[in-house]
Symmetry: C2
Subunit: 173 residues, 2 copies
DNA sequence: GTCTATACCTCGATAGAC
DNA sequence: GTCTATCGAGGTATAGAC
């Protein structure tokens, strides 16, 4: 991976996240990365190829984030770590998350692949804690976190830790 | 409002919702609405003008939906009606909601104008029900509903009423 | 139907590493 | 001399606009 390739990936992410995929032209990216436009196509085949390269690079970070939940065995910690996810994302990566949210609607790129195992683990945790309807408890929290992270990433603000502390009390974690 | 104007609005909504704002060309809309492309610009000034006309038309329906919550006085009914919102949206209007979600990211059109009064009313309801931290309870539910409606509109499926019934039990509504 | 701009993309030429 | 990274001048289509 050469320096210019990395600059294309980085600037592509910035611009896609800031202005949207369709609204960003390859010439803009080239200008920002200070490379010739042709180079983008040499390396990434097409504009969409560039997008997928960007997504692939970011996917690792997502996996790491979810690993904290999946690999946890103690049920209370599973829930606690799940709720903590938004706080583990460094601000430098907000752009990537913003892009993910936008792509869900702009193209039909949905990485709900990660959602399923999370849902299973969460359900199991509630079950072990003797909640009456563990699957619905899990679904409830999953929807909450979707809304919460959406609000954070959208507002480019820091997540409100009060809400998190509140939930830890509510669920006795 | 002529027949052709309405067809432009309707087809514009369909296509914007389905393929995104930037990815939809005015010529596509003209073809779908069976009008000349020039007519779009005569009536709506620009592509963005058309978008705003579409949004303005839909705003009324949003207001109606939220009115059920805002105008309610009995605290339990406030919360109940709030949670019911997604179930009151007819499938024929899913396209409009989908467009709203997409625009939040694609352009920076955010109609969180409605969010504030809802938050206040919800907080008050929890307060009257003697919840310890009514503001956080409200914020929690608001985030949940954002995630829930997002999932519904995205999945073009019917909302899961089990989850709603579960929450009515949980909050003793 | 026509205009202008710009979108995505191609490709031959170049330059340096080995 | 081959190979890989790069440049930048086009090409073709289509966008929004009127």
């Amino acid at each position: 991976m050469t320096d210019k390739q990395e600059r294309i990936l980085s600037c592509g992410l910035q611009l896609f996240a800031k202005n949207g995929y369709n609204a960003t032209s390859t010439s803009q990216i080239a200008k920002a990365a200070e490379v010739s436009e042709g180079l983008i196509f040499r390396h990434f085949k097409s504009k969409e190829g560039l997008l997928h390269a960007i997504l692939k690079e970011g996917q690792q970070k997502i996996d790491q984030l979810y690993a904290n939940v999946i690999n946890e065995t103690e049920p209370k910690s599973v829930i606690k770590n799940f709720l903590q996810i938004p706080f583990l994302v460094p601000q430098t990566e907000y752009n990537f998350w913003k892009l993910l949210f936008a792509l869900k609607w702009e193209l039909d790129i949905d990485n709900s692949v990660n959602q399923k195992p999370i849902n299973i683990v969460l359900t199991k945790a509630f079950e072990q804690l003797s909640y009456k309807e563990p699957d619905l408890e899990a679904a409830f929290l999953v929807n909450y976190l979707e809304g919460f992270t959406s609000a954070i990433v959208k507002g480019d603000g820091v997540p409100d830790s009060n809400l998190n502390a509140f939930l830890q009390r509510k669920y006795m974690l």
